[in-house]
Every structure is written in structure tokens, then in C-alpha cells.
């Protein structure tokens, strides 16, 4: 074996190791997010939630996983077999690949690419395929309706999400995620761009099909939506993908508006805590708000959901893009022009 090939192999091994270092904690995080969801909603509804399996119910996610694993995988007779099997895999893979560009600390990132935020946006817009393929391949009316709802909803809210991202980019002048975080050293974007923060957060709720926008799953009308026909591990993959997407969207909110791995103030006791810990704490906070929303809001009606996306968020975020650009130009604060001339 020549030296060149050896270096390639070592590089490959190092990369695989990095991937595992991110994916394994992420999957554990997903497992405990499901537990946290049930506990938090339980407390908000004045009941206990799962507290029997293990101390404080800490082993509940593993019990659930074992239960799902031991069940039978069912392929419906009328289903399009290949698409039916690929769909949950696609959902799960897409929920994981986005993490390649997420910066956990100043230098802690697998791929620090120039178009990081576009990559995230692209991957999150692909998530709709897993759902629409599952709904179509199941050959069931409930699943198909759920998939159509979901696809329309995700495409609609992506538009306003894109505009919110443009607003942030105007203030940063770079598509690189580390640059976006670095630009928030003085003040987190959540403060000057507060309305956009709210629009973005609500759009992420719609994008991840979470309450109050969980119409694709609307159990009272569609049984469970696009994954009605799935069972066992394929169902678990959808579930994992959905929760990993929630964590991803929280990470995106944190990066764009809550200063990523930066401490809230650059003062003594706060800035000795390492960046990744701040990052994870902020993600946990956003996730808590996700659960809080689920426990306290009723489900939207579908036409109202579409109205909110197209007639409220889209014009509003468009106006904010123009306002922000106008403000930055008139006060000569546009960062993108700094490196130009």
C-alpha cells in the first residue's frame, strides 16, 4: 500500500469518526427528546407522564425502541414496494446529513463550507420527499391526503423562511454559518430582528409538521397521516427523522438568531463555559418552546394555515427584507460591501 492511499484511508477514518461523534449523541438526543416531550406535556397537563421505566422514566425511550424493533414489518399488498421502503430511509438520512455543516464551536464543524446556510435550506426543503413518497407509495387515501397536506404546507412555509434567512444574510454579508454566528458577537439577531425571529420560529413549526400545524398527522381526521401504513422499524425511522428535524430546526434558529455557540454576555463567569455547551443549552431552550407550543395551542384549520403562510408571513417578511436593506444602506452599515472595493 502506497503512502498516498494510506493518507486517504487515515483521512477517511478520521471523517467517519467525526460523523459518529455527531450522530450518536444526536440519536440519543432524539431518544430523550421523545421522553422530554411526554414529560413536559405531562406536567403542563397536570399529570406525570412516563415515570415507571427506570429512574424518572429515563429508560422509557429504550423500551419504546425495543418494542418497535420486535414488531413485524408490514408491506401493504397494494403498495409500491421500493418507494415504500426508500421513503423512511430518505427522511432519516436527510435529517442527519444536514448536521455536517452545523458549527458546534469556533472550530468544531465537519464541513465549514461557504454556502452553509443554503445547504441547510436545501436539505430541509428535501425533507418533503420522504413524506410525499411515503404517502403515495402506501396506496392509501389517508396517507396520500396527509402527504399532500404536508407537501403543500412545507413548500408554502419555505418561502417565508427563505426571506427570513435573506434578512439575516443582509446583516451578515456571508452565507457561512460560522460567519453568521461571529456577526452576532455584539448583539444576537433575535433582538434587532425580533419580528423575523418569531416568523422564523413559527415557520419551523410548520416545516417540521409540529403542533399547531400538525395537520399532516391530524389523528382525528387522517388517523396518522402519511405514515399510517408503516410499522415497526420503518415507522421508527420516520419518528426519528421527525425528531431529528426538530433538533435541526432548533439548531438553525439558534445559529440564525440566538448567537450559536456565543455566550449571552462576554463577561467572566459566562465566557469560561465552552461554546458547544452554550449551543446545546440554546437548542434545548428552543426545543422546550416547541413542546410548550404543542401543549398549549389548538390545531390550525388547513385553510387558515395556508392563509397565515401566504397572506401574512410572506408579505410581512418581504417588507422586512426591504426595510432591513433600506436601513442598512441608509446608515451605511451594509457588511457585504465591506470587502468589495
Amino acid at each position: 500500500m502506497s503512502g498516498l492511499e494510506l493518507t486517504y484511508l487515515i483521512e477517511l477514518g478520521w471523517l467517519v469518526l467525526q460523523v459518529f461523534v455527531i450522530i450518536i449523541p444526536l440519536l440519543i438526543g432524539v431518544a430523550y427528546l421523545t421522553l422530554a416531550e411526554r414529560r413536559v406535556i405531562g406536567f403542563m397537563q397536570l399529570r406525570k407522564g412516563p415515570n415507571v421505566v427506570g429512574p424518572f422514566g429515563l429508560l422509557q425511550p429504550f423500551a419504546d425502541a425495543l418494542k418497535l424493533l420486535s414488531k413485524e414489518t408490514i408491506l401493504p399488498a397494494g403498495a409500491d414496494k421500493v418507494t415504500f421502503v426508500i421513503a423512511p430511509m430518505l427522511t432519516f438520512v436527510l435529517a442527519l446529513v444536514a448536521w455536517a455543516v452545523i458549527p458546534f464551536g469556533e472550530t468544531l464543524v465537519i464541513a465549514d463550507i461557504n454556502v452553509g446556510i443554503l445547504y441547510l435550506f436545501a436539505v430541509s426543503s428535501l425533507g418533503v420527499y420522504g413524506i410525499i413518497m411515503a404517502g403515495w407509495a402506501s396506496n392509501s387515501k389517508y396517507a396520500f391526503l396527509g402527504a399532500l397536506r404536508s407537501a403543500a404546507q412545507m413548500v408554502s412555509y419555505e418561502v417565508s423562511m427563505g426571506l427570513v434567512i435573506i434578512t439575516v444574510l443582509l446583516c451578515v454579508g456571508s452565507l457561512n454559518l460560522s460567519d453568521i454566528i461571529e456577526a452576532q458577537r455584539t448583539v444576537w439577531f433575535a433582538l434587532p430582528l425580533f419580528p423575523m425571529f418569531i416568523v422564523f420560529f413559527i415557520s419551523t413549526l410548520a416545516e417540521t409538521n409540529r403542533a399547531p400545524f400538525d395537520l399532516p398527522e391530524g389523528e382525528s381526521e387522517l388517523v396518522a397521516g402519511y405514515f399510517v401504513e408503516y410499522s415497526s422499524m420503518s415507522f421508527a425511522l420516520f419518528f426519528l427523522g421527525e425528531y431529528a428535524n426538530m433538533i435541526l430546526m432548533s439548531a438553525m434558529t439558534t445559529i440564525l438568531f440566538l448567537g450559536g455557540w456565543l455566550p449571552p454576555f462576554d463577561i467572566y463567569p459566562l465566557n469560561i463555559i465552552p461554546g458547544p455547551i452554550w449551543f446545546i443549552l440554546k437548542i434545548c431552550f428552543v426545543l422546550f418552546v416547541f413542546l410548550w407550543m404543542r401543549a398549549t395551542t389548538p390545531r390550525y384549520r388547513y385553510d387558515q394555515l395556508m392563509r397565515l403562510g401566504w397572506k401574512v408571513f410572506l408579505p410581512f417578511s418581504l417588507i422586512w427584507v426591504v426595510l432591513t436593506a433600506g436601513f442598512l444602506i441608509s446608515f451605511d452599515m451594509l457588511p457585504a460591501t465591506a470587502g468589495l472595493n
Binding site: 461557504n114 443554503l118 445547504y119 396520500f144
Partner: protein
């Protein structure tokens, strides 16, 4: 070495997916293969160093346009037998378009010696920034024109499909939120055995 490997991987998947688009029996599978082709084309863009174009291809074509394709194709009530019948009729047209495209590519391929060398930017500026600089300064009018054409197309599509239907009760959000307790609820005490008369 690795890049060449990836080039052949992306290129062969793109070609295979393209073949499957026109040969698969189920139109939904065709669209799914089309998406795969788009995706691999984006991979080729990344290998060229045009990461911005690659991401744009994924966001616009895969993330938005193809979803709508898929939507339409899934909703259509398609008769597969009928679809195969048209194959013979459209074959010459398809072959003609394919032939023209092939001729163009061959022309470029064999005349590539006369073509101006690709200008390689030796600056540290990312290609997003370079694209933006050229698009919004040198070609600003063309850019605006393209935007205008899209706007007109959008308005046209809306005007064609929007219809006012009779007998449909639409929700008026403004009048709903303006409702107060006073004009929607009235408390009446009902005397027993007589009830309340309303005009």
C-alpha cells in the same frame, strides 16, 4: 483521483436516471428519477467548484419545482395503456429534440480548441459574491427583466385559475376578529313553559 471518481459516479447516475425518466412505466417513478438526475447534476456543479449554483439547483428545482411536478403527476388519473399508445407518435419528436441537443454538445466538444479558455478566478472571493457582483451591476437590467417576466407569468397563471364561485361562504378574518361579546352573545332568562320568541 477522488474527484475523478466522484465525477464518474455523479455523471453515470445522472445519465442512468435520465434514461429511467423516459423509460419507466410509472409516471411518478419518472418524476422521482428526474429528481435524482437534478440531484446528481448538483453534485457535478459542486465538483466544478460552483457550489452556489449547486445549492440553487437543489433549492429551486428539487425543493420547489419538482415537488409541484410530483403533486400534479400523483393527482392525475392516468391510464397507463393510453400513455403507452402515445409513445409511437411522439417518438420522432423526442428523437429530433435529442438529436439537436446531441449535435450541439458534439459541436462544442469538437470546437473546444477555438473556445476562449475558461477564466479562472484567482481571488479569494467566493463564487456567490462574484455572481452577485456581476448579476447586480453589469446585468442588472436583464436581471430585472427576468424578474418582470416571471411576475407577469405568475399573474397570468393566477388570473387564469382564479374564479369567483357562487354559493361559497368565505371566511372573513377581519369581521371575525372584530366580533365582540356584545354583538354575538345575549343572555336571556327563559320563563318556564313559554320559551323565548324571536323575530
Amino acid at each position: 483521483m477522488i474527484e475523478t471518481l466522484f465525477f464518474y459516479l455523479f455523471a453515470s447516475i445522472t445519465c442512468l436516471a435520465g434514461l429511467m425518466v423516459i423509460s419507466s412505466r410509472n409516471p411518478v417513478h419518472s418524476v422521482l428519477f428526474l429528481i435524482l438526475a437534478f440531484f446528481n447534476a448538483a453534485g457535478l456543479f459542486v465538483l466544478l467548484g460552483a457550489e452556489f449554483l449547486a445549492m440553487l439547483l437543489v433549492v429551486v428545482y428539487v425543493g420547489a419545482v419538482a415537488v409541484l411536478f410530483l403533486f400534479v403527476v400523483m393527482m392525475l388519473d392516468i391510464n397507463f395503456v393510453e400513455l403507452r399508445e402515445g409513445f409511437q407518435r411522439y417518438m420522432p419528436l423526442g428523437l429530433g429534440v435529442g438529436g439537436v441537443l446531441l449535435a450541439e454538445i458534439l459541436f462544442v466538444f469538437f470546437n473546444s480548441a477555438d473556445m476562449p479558455e475558461t477564466v479562472v478566478m484567482v481571488t479569494e472571493v467566493s463564487n456567490t459574491r462574484v455572481l452577485g457582483r456581476i448579476l447586480y451591476t453589469d446585468y442588472i437590467y436583464l436581471f430585472q427583466l427576468a424578474g418582470l417576466i416571471l411576475l407577469v407569468a405568475m399573474i397570468g397563471a393566477i388570473a387564469l385559475t382564479l374564479r369567483k364561485r357562487e354559493n361559497v361562504r368565505r371566511q372573513s378574518i377581519a369581521s371575525q376578529t372584530e366580533r365582540t361579546r356584545a354583538d354575538s352573545i345575549e343572555v336571556v332568562s327563559v320563563p318556564s313553559n313559554t320559551g323565548v320568541k324571536r323575530s
